[in-house]
Amino acid sequence: MKFVEEYRDPELAKKLLERIHRRSTRRIRLMEFCGGHTVSIFKHGIRQLLPQNIEMLSGPGCPVCVTAIADLDKAIALSRLPGVIIASFGDMVRVPGSRSSLQQVKAEGSDVRVVYSAQDAVYLARDNPDKSIIFIGIGFETTAPTVAASILQAEQEGIDNYYTLSLHKLCPPIMKAILDMGEVELNGIICPGHVSSIIGSYPYRFIADDYHIACAVSGFEPVDILLGVDSLVEQIEKEEYKVEIAYRRGVKPEGNPPALKLMEAVFEVSEADWRGIGIVPASGLRLRERYRRFDAEANFDIKTEPSHEAKGCICGSILRGINTPLDCRLFCKICTPEHPIGPCMVSSEGSCATYFHYGDGYGG
């Protein structure tokens, strides 16, 4: 596939690795924010290929994983209302809530459909005019504009039975929250490639300027990731911190202005509840007043009981970067991809699932 194969070239990867080994002299800790990066790093064995003085940590960039259990309980409560069809991305359906999961309520008779796209949920609404279609809107800045576009499409086509439960979250504010918590010391951050394709590189500048942490926006193929690490090593060695785009074919400094405009037209910034972190101000998106008629929270009576996390699950501290799956006593013993206890084992890009599938002899 064009724009993929070239960036998997083993010779180029080898040369980049040689340069990283040659230039990296300090003991440093880098975080890849995005779950997609975590998967790629593990799949291609990048952790083992980097010099031993470079430690890689996984961040909270997995939307399924960071969805608060209270919000998942809301989605489950909505699925039990009469005349409702829940439309959701696949991974979300399997995540255990406090008492059930969307998969379980589906088995009990609720109508829960897995969709590939928010647009598919709009079509579901068009084809089922006597039902209320509620799309579970999870995702960062990559996905939020697509959901905004789906709402505008529903409005234009006069579809009045389409709703979204907006659980969208924003990356730069949570990066700031994690840095301010001070639980983990970082020298560099691999910034998310496709979030940045929308928001650009400017929103991360505070990390380099105020926290003196190197930033590189990276793509997802092995050579892309090594380019990102190479940039971080160079910045750290020179003590010159900036935000470098190491994924120039997909990311412009200003991002994608039409997509940003559309997202800002439909959503406004709000607080958000993050699993393992709690409520973080100005780190989420809710529908603007003008689009309230598409807002599931405003249009349905959602009744939930108090939420609680699964006993023993440490997804929260794994998402904050202070633990790894290997620190969890449920990992691989009770919690597996077949019988997940926490979301990080459900999502294909969750840290626990990634350790299970690609870690050395941890899992299957």
């Binding site: 928010a118 996905t143 576009a149 999502s347």
Partner: protein, 72 residues
């Protein structure tokens, strides 16, 4: 979740486009990339083109990488 893959735009009809993803044809939304043209490659995420791939930058990156590998 933020996975996006390259897709080649084959035809455009309003806010929908037909794209080729490594031999598979699919209809996608181009609401987020209103300036896209037939023949462009886009980054496709959950049925939406989220950006147009910059081919010039892609070639430039590969050129730098190849120079690097020859220099050593």
């Amino acid at each position: 979740m933020c996975l996006a893959i390259p897709a080649l735009v084959k035809s455009i009809d309003g806010y929908l486009a037909e794209v080729d993803i490594d031999g598979v044809t699919r209809q996608v939304s181009i609401q987020l990339t209103p300036d896209v043209k037939v023949g462009d490659y886009v980054l496709l995420h959950t049925g939406y083109a989220i950006n147009v791939i910059d081919e010039v930058e892609a070639e430039e990156t590969l050129k730098i990488l190849k120079e690097l590998s020859q220099a050593q």
